[in-house]
């Protein structure tokens, strides 16, 4: 399945957001996620099914002012 991870095209074999994050190397990391511009809570990731062309945003803590 072809998805966009932070605007980059990726091919992943994953049915849910939780699985996709594991496959993409985010397992156990402090991150927050959105799919197609909507926030997806960590608890909702296993139940969030992905479809071809979905846009996933993964963010982590960063310095800010």
């Amino acid at each position: 399945m072809r998805i966009f991870l932070n605007d980059e095209v990726r091919d992943v074999d994953a049915g849910t957001l939780a699985t996709a994050l594991d496959v993409l190397g985010f397992g156990g990391r402090k991150i927050a996620t959105a799919v197609n511009g909507r926030f997806v809570a960590a608890t909702a990731r296993p139940g969030t099914k992905l479809a071809d062309g979905d846009r996933i945003e993964v963010v982590a803590p960063m310095q800010g002012g």
Partner: protein, 257 residues
């Protein structure tokens, strides 16, 4: 001083961006005695670890974090970012920025009020980055904000307090709302001036982070904030046009012709 029921000893809030190194950042935070630091969130790939390392550093310092929605130009973007920040940093506090103009990074006050209402109704405790406009401030309070953060000058400009009249009016208009001058401060005297006016706190980043010696500058700002607060409580004189001799003239020896 308290923000949303949280008592704080320090009236200086410090940003965590643009320091020469993580070690300097950590030392600057300690020197500033800040109890609240601002943080943000950005995209991270599966192979990067920068965000994780930064988070470990902040946690070790034991300070409270105030996540921002920096870089957001729409209500939707700001609201989604706030939700991500709430989960990531485990706090209901959010420094709400909705940017309306890219040269000055001036807040889009219309979007700001709308986003503040949405987030307040959703349980967030909003710290809106706003202008000194009284009517906008009224709307933000109506929307649920219990702290207001007017700009001193455009972010990173180091210009200080651009509109002293406007900031004084805001202070007079909202005697019971914690007010924080956020953005645009360049040197400690700017922070002292804000505090002498009766502002509750100041928030700054670049003035410390990009100083030649950020740790020393953090300490200088801490001292200025404290001095300004003490001065405010000591009730400063009002300026006057004519001289008023400080030395009594009565009893002066008559030595002239």
């Amino acid at each position: 001083m308290s923000f949303y029921g949280v008592e704080l000893g320090s009236r200086l809030l410090l940003g965590t961006a643009r320091y020469p190194s993580p070690a300097v950042l950590a030392e600057a935070i300690k020197a500033s005695k800040a109890e609240v630091v601002t943080v943000s969130l950005r995209r991270e790939s599966g192979s990067e670890r920068a965000g994780q390392a930064f988070w470990s550093l902040v946690r070790e310092l034991g300070v409270r974090v105030l996540p921002n929605t920096a870089g957001c130009h729409s209500v939707k973007e700001a609201v989604t970012t706030a939700h991500m920040a709430r989960e990531l940093f485990d706090t209901t506090w959010i420094k709400l920025e909705v940017i309306g103009e890219s040269d000055t990074l001036q807040p889009d006050v219309f979007g700001l009020v709308e986003a503040a209402r949405i987030l307040s109704e959703d349980g967030f405790e909003v710290f809106p980055y706003t202008t000194e406009d009284l009517v906008v401030a009224d709307r933000l309070v109506e929307a649920g904000c219990r702290v207001l953060m007017p700009w001193g000058a455009p972010i990173g400009s180091a210009r200080g307090l651009n509109n002293v009249y406007g900031l004084k009016s805001l202070r007079a208009h909202f005697p019971d709302i914690p007010l924080v001058v956020d953005a645009g401060l360049g040197v400690p005297s700017h922070a002292a001036a804000a505090m002498e006016m009766g502002y509750d706190a100041v928030l700054l980043n670049t003035a410390v982070a990009e100083a030649g010696d950020p740790v020393a500058m953090a300490r200088a700002f801490a001292l200025a904030v404290e001095a300004g607060r003490i001065a405010f409580l000591a009730q400063p004189l009002e300026p006057r046009d004519m001289a008023a001799p400080s030395t009594p003239v009565i009893g002066k020896a008559a030595l002239g012709d």
